[in-house]
């Protein structure tokens, strides 16, 4: 009942002030944003994805520590796990941890964004989300193929930086179709990835910082900026 009521109140307020220029410009801006960007992306999605990444990184670190720790030479993985082929790598412990982490992060990220879009009364699957997904998918898929090839040739040390760089590029590309702040999260990932290129063997720490910490910081900032404000506004209106 409450959303319908608030909407009604908004409508009647807006209809009355036909020539209030500031309100009118705000309405125009709002319509432009709502029609061209997917703005239901929740800050909580970022926080939950970050937590998943940190848990994943912790497990991965355990595996690496048990096998002698990072040596500064990425190729140590190859010796310690006797990974020779792509198939063997697919079955390796680290790869499993990565996949489970990814699935967990995606699940929670989707969940919170779904809840927010429900609350805002915006369909999660529409023109804007389709555009966002395409923009993100292109660098991700290209990067994914490139990284699989890197695994095949045995360049394990460059996988972590590669993930960060391609993910960062995907975010920068996608930021045109969602909250503009995503761009800065993307820049952060790219910078970390590039630094990691010269610190091979410490990939797991860069992963934890990029996919974990940056996501959590970004998520908290976004939640604070957009969602906390709207939930307060809602309560004052209904009160």
């Amino acid at each position: 009942m409450s959303t319908a009521f608030i909407y009604f109140v908004f409508q009647s307020i807006f209809m009355d002030i036909q020539h209030e220029p500031l309100q009118e410009l705000k309405h125009i801006k709002n319509m432009m944003e709502r029609s061209s960007r997917f703005i239901s992306l929740s800050g909580l999605s970022g926080i939950s994805a970050g937590i998943c990444a940190l848990v994943g990184a912790w497990f991965a670190n355990e595996v690496i520590e048990r096998s002698g720790g990072p040596s500064g030479d990425g190729r140590i993985y190859k010796r310690d796990y006797s990974i020779d082929t792509l198939q063997e790598f697919m079955g390796s412990k680290l790869f499993n941890i990565a996949i489970i982490t990814l699935i967990g992060a995606l699940f929670f990220a989707f969940l919170f964004t779904y809840l927010r879009s429900k609350k805002n009364n915006v369909a999660i699957w529409g023109t804007t989300s389709r555009r966002l997904l395409t923009a993100v998918a292109i660098p991700m898929i290209a990067g994914g193929i490139y990284l699989l090839r890197e695994i095949q040739v045995g360049d394990y040390g460059l996988i972590a930086p590669g993930c960060l760089i391609f993910y960062g590029l995907a975010l920068v590309n996608g930021s045109k179709y969602t909250l503009d702040e995503v761009r800065y999260l993307g820049y952060g990932q790219i910078i970390l990835g590039i630094i990691n290129c010269w610190m091979i063997g410490y990939g797991v720490y860069f992963w934890a910082t990029g996919f974990g910490l940056l996501h959590i910081i970004y998520g908290i900032l976004m939640w604070y900026k957009y969602e906390r404000a709207t939930s307060e506004k809602r309560t004052t209106i209904s009160a």
């Binding site: 909407y7 807006f14 209809m15 036909q18 020539h19 220029p21 500031l22 009118e24 410009l25 309405h27 125009i28 801006k29 319509m31 432009m32 709502r34 029609s35 061209s36 915006v122 369909a123 529409g126 023109t127």
Partner: protein, 99 residues
């Protein structure tokens, strides 16, 4: 001094029509259903506002099919773009006038 309200476009008096134009300014084209969802109005209401914008020559209607269903999309015309920009400029002028 001329009254800035005179420069406001009467066609954009309605929030629905203003909404349609704002949406079309930032999207190459948009479908009837997307518009309906964005503006949150009934089919009939939206259709009548679209018609008046079309009669003014501000938007172009493209009828197409996606599978068996009709898929009508709308694009903004050059005339519409100009009219909208003038309306925006008039609004900005009013704000500056107030300050």
């Amino acid at each position: 001094m001329s009254n800035p309200i005179e420069n406001l476009n009467k066609t954009f008096d309605s929030r629905v029509r203003l909404g349609i134009m704002s949406t079309l300014m930032v999207n190459d084209e948009i479908s009837f259903n997307d518009l309906k969802q964005l503006i949150n109005v009934t089919d009939g209401n939206l259709a009548s506002h679209i018609k008046s914008l079309e009669e003014n020559g501000y938007i172009k209607v493209n009828k197409g099919f996606s599978g068996r269903k009709t898929n009508t999309t709308y694009t903004v015309t050059k005339v519409g773009e100009k009219a909208f920009q003038q309306h925006l400029a008039a609004l900005e002028k009013m704000i500056k006038g107030i300050k």
